[in-house]
Amino acid sequence: MPAAFVLKRLALAVPTLVGVAVIVFVLLRVVPGDPIAMMIPPGATEADIANLRRVYGLDSSILQQFLQWAGQILQGEFGTSISMRRDVLDLILGRLPATLELAVAAILLAVALGTGLALLGTWGQGGPLEVLVDGFTGLTLAIPDFLWGLIFILLLGVAWPILPISGRIDPRLGVEFATGFYLAESLLRGEWRIFGGIVAHLVLPAVALALPLVAAVARLLKASLQAVLQEDYIAMARARGMGRWRIILREGLQNAAIPTVTLGGVQFTFLIGGTVLIERIFSYPGIGNMAIGAVIQRDLPLIQGLVLTFALIFIVVNLAVDMSYAALNPRLRR
């Protein structure tokens, strides 16, 4: 992929990020309700309150606060969390790997499952197999992922308890990790038992998170595959004696993936948004779970840091979608 293409996309992402920062900052500054008021210990004096305001930078004007804040962010200072009294960047970086592992697992799962279903539905076009695939995607879309997560907990965590439903790793293992990427680290160190445990914890949240995307990919890809199979070059492949699977996989799939990525790209960002709720449901220690806690606590510095982090992830995901689009379509590569 040409570097100019990547650089152009990156340049386009900067104003988005600045815009998100401004919006979030302004929005949270007009919040009715005073975060300091919630922190005041009983019997605090006016001077104590003013001191607190000064410490958290809440005494200057909004513009000053924003400029000061933006300047700090560029230096990697996200401020101090009001509720946890720790550095926001440290807190976020501590939780981010968990969310990234969950999101990546869900995306891989969604693409693999969705593609598999689309292939099955195309293979069995007009037959019972396609009806089955359509029924599955229909059911998946009819029930929101929030409920799917809960249903999984009840069925596979409680009624037939084969998978863990809380957290990221069994705390009784007492393993120490050098990085936050438990899954990757245990895999690289070849600790299969620990790796297996982490995978077991990851399965249900990842599947629940992936389901809407599975359905979207399956539907879009199946429709475009079936359309692509009507093309002339597919008839040519048949006239050259290629088998059905070979034609679908080698001649059809990449062409069908192009409109699927265009139409389904936004679903990938929705999956990132879905981590918030899924992490809460499965008590998974990622930044989504942290975000809900921060909102409940009205922890402004933490909320801002988290929303910016999410915005950054969205931008990266969009970038990846754009790149894969260009990688699939030679007409865009130049």
């Binding site: 029930i143 009840l154 929705f270 948004g273 918030v276 709720l277």
Partner: protein, 296 residues
């Protein structure tokens, strides 16, 4: 679908035809019954509920439903961890669901319809502005937006309703705008214009009645979405106070005790699934019945 073939175009006949067709559609039946049951439960909650939903009895905590050994008579679906009757809390929970479904969905519909009609009918910079706004809105995942909004507005039922309306107006706006663009080109609207009707009156008298079927369908679907969003916000503790019986709140509580008392979480989930599937079926059925293109 056969009813439409029999009904001639024009006059009042298609409406009665559509109504008859609606009553023959199994989706409409199923969805309608679910909606009706929900509404009745909400309205007659004090009569239906065997107990006060807030009445605690710590001696009777985590009682199982009637078919499980250890159940107490008088608590058909068991109790939560504070000994509150689950059946009663579920029935009272329907009240919040109905209020949110009706008010939030209507608010989102009104907001989206007004903006969509304006954008579609006036075009130009109005359309550009509204369309741009929709694009920006759609780029954000709804759940994240809802949580940030509630963080801004504060918690409580009103905040939840406002948040849903502010997030979901785009669903109505997009469809209504597109439909208005189509309708605008059709002869009768042109005719109405040449008759000298003011533009806004044309909107009201000519375009709105034609997008009504679509609006009704969208509204039904939005009710299901609103109920889910409220349940999500209750679940994460950002809706109304956790003492008030809501399905989302019950799920949150049940999630904590899921290994000891699976039923606390199961029943509200079941309620949500049935209601969401019911409203989906109703919306889908109405779309099939009311949309003349689909009927053909």
């Amino acid at each position: 679908m056969t009813g439409a073939v029999a009904a001639p175009a024009g006059g009042e006949r298609p409406r009665t035809g559509a109504l008859a067709a609606a009553l023959r559609n199994p989706r409409v039946w199923f969805g309608g019954l679910v909606g009706l049951a929900l509404l009745l439960a909400a309205v007659f909650a004090p009569l239906l509920a065997p107990h006060d939903p807030l009445q605690q009895d710590l001696m009777l905590g985590q009682l199982p439903p009637f078919w499980v050994p250890g159940a107490e008579p008088g608590y058909p679906l068991g109790t939560d961890s504070l000994g509150r009757d689950l059946a009663s809390r579920l029935i009272y929970g329907a009240r919040v669901a109905v209020i949110v479904a009706v008010v939030a969905a209507l608010a989102a519909a009104v907001l989206g319809t007004v903006l969509g009609l304006l954008a579609g009918f006036f075009g130009g910079w109005v359309d550009a502005l509204v369309s741009r706004l929709v694009d920006i809105w759609m780029a954000f995942p709804a759940v994240l937006l809802a949580i940030v909004l509630v963080a801004v507005i504060g918690t409580g039922l009103e905040a939840v309703i406002v948040a849903i309306a502010v997030i979901d107006w785009t669903r109505f706006c997009r469809v209504i705008r597109a439909e208005t663009l189509v309708q605008k080109e059709q002869d009768y609207v042109l005719a109405a214009r040449t008759l000298g009707l003011a533009r806004l009156r044309t909107l009201y008298s000519e375009v709105l009645p034609n997008v009504m079927p679509l609006l009704l369908t969208l509204l039904t679907l939005e009710m299901g979405i609103a109920i889910i969003v409220e349940a999500i916000l209750s679940f994460v503790g950002l809706s109304i106070s956790s003492d008030e019986p809501t399905w989302g709140g019950l799920i949150a509580e049940g999630r904590q005790y899921v290994h000891d008392a699976w039923w606390i979480m199961s029943f509200p989930i079941l309620c949500l699934i049935v209601v969401v599937l019911g409203l989906n079926a109703l919306g889908d059925g109405l779309r099939r019945v009311l949309d003349p293109v689909m009927r053909r």
